[in-house]
């Protein structure tokens, strides 16, 4: 029998283990809703600051929105919120050129709490309070300083951000525009 040049002398008896293509590891970033822009005034709907009106500073890599009160006006600090826990309004502050590159998501992540096993540990834990990163404080200040003149330029805007949203008697949520 003639052996053609094309035949391979060695043939692996086992297939190589190559991982299959899967969508599991694919990162699908959350899309920013069309109703939300940088500078949009948002109403927080749940959580500690529910009812507060805040300013949107943009979307972070995790898909969450970065918002601030500003802290100087209504005491709402720089923090992250989910888009679905927010009521966007049509009012937008002109915040072109706002720089949030210094903001790190690590600041907002809660350290995983270890369950205190003994009473002593528990007491110690209470003393070891979370300390805010100095970078957090400095960017909070810088961002507030950036926003404050834009707020001051619009009459009543400061009062508006200071006030809280609430439904009153006779108001129909489904008929309201924001």
């Amino acid at each position: 029998m003639k052996v053609s040049a094309k035949t391979v002398a060695m043939y692996p008896t086992e297939r190589k283990n190559t991982p299959l293509k899967s969508n599991r590891t694919k990162h699908n970033p959350t899309k920013l809703r069309s109703s939300i822009k940088v500078g949009s005034i948002l109403i927080l709907l749940s959580g500690r600051f529910a009812g507060n009106r805040v300013v949107c500073l943009g979307q972070l890599d995790s898909g969450l929105l970065l918002v601030t009160g500003p802290y100087k006006i209504n005491g709402v600090p720089l923090h992250r919120v989910m888009q679905s826990r927010v009521q966007p309004t049509s009012t937008v502050l002109p915040l072109e050129g706002v720089d949030v590159s210094a903001v790190s998501e690590e600041w907002f992540k809660k350290p995983r709490a270890k369950a205190a096993s003994t009473e002593e540990e528990f007491m110690e834990d209470a003393e070891n309070k979370r300390v805010l990163a100095p970078e957090f404080l400095s960017s909070q200040k810088a961002l507030d300083a950036f926003i404050m003149p834009k707020v001051a330029a619009i009459p009543n805007m400061k009062k508006y951000l200071k006030s809280k949203f609430a439904l009153t008697k006779g108001q129909r949520f489904h008929e309201m525009r924001f």
Binding site: I43, T89, N156, Y160, R177, F178
Partner: protein
């Protein structure tokens, strides 16, 4: 007191129920005691049959013939300025105000609240 507003050809009516709710039209024909034919070529009300219960009579009329065409109606409305007369009337202004109130954004609602507070202070 006698009645002054009648279901009649040429009467401007405000529609308060159904598809054309909130719009103004003109009666151009009467079918029977319950139904009329209305048309609002300038207000977006299509030529249609309408129940008398769904309309409210205004004090304004236009001079049109029975079964007048859309063109004739819009010409008559323009000539006599009946639609403007309605929109500038107290009732028309009130309706416009209600529509505007519903369209207010959150910030505008807040400003209205401030103005109301100011008015209350001044009245005191």
């Amino acid at each position: 007191m006698t009645f002054t507003r009648f279901v009649e050809v040429g009467r401007l009516v405000y529609i308060d129920q159904g598809k054309f709710c909130g719009k103004v039209a003109v009666i151009y024909d009467i079918i029977d005691r319950n139904l009329v034919m209305i048309d609002g070529p300038t207000t977006g009300v299509s030529r249609s049959v309408c129940n008398v219960k769904h309309i409210v009579l205004t004090k304004h009329t236009v001079g049109i013939e029975r079964a007048a065409t859309s063109k004739q109606i819009s010409a008559a409305l323009k000539e006599e300025g009946a639609m403007e007369a309605f929109t500038t009337s107290k009732w028309g202004m009130k309706i416009a105000g209600q529509i505007r109130r519903k369209q207010l954004t959150d910030f505008e609602r807040f400003q209205v609240k401030l103005l109301k507070q100011r008015r209350a202070q001044l009245l005191k």
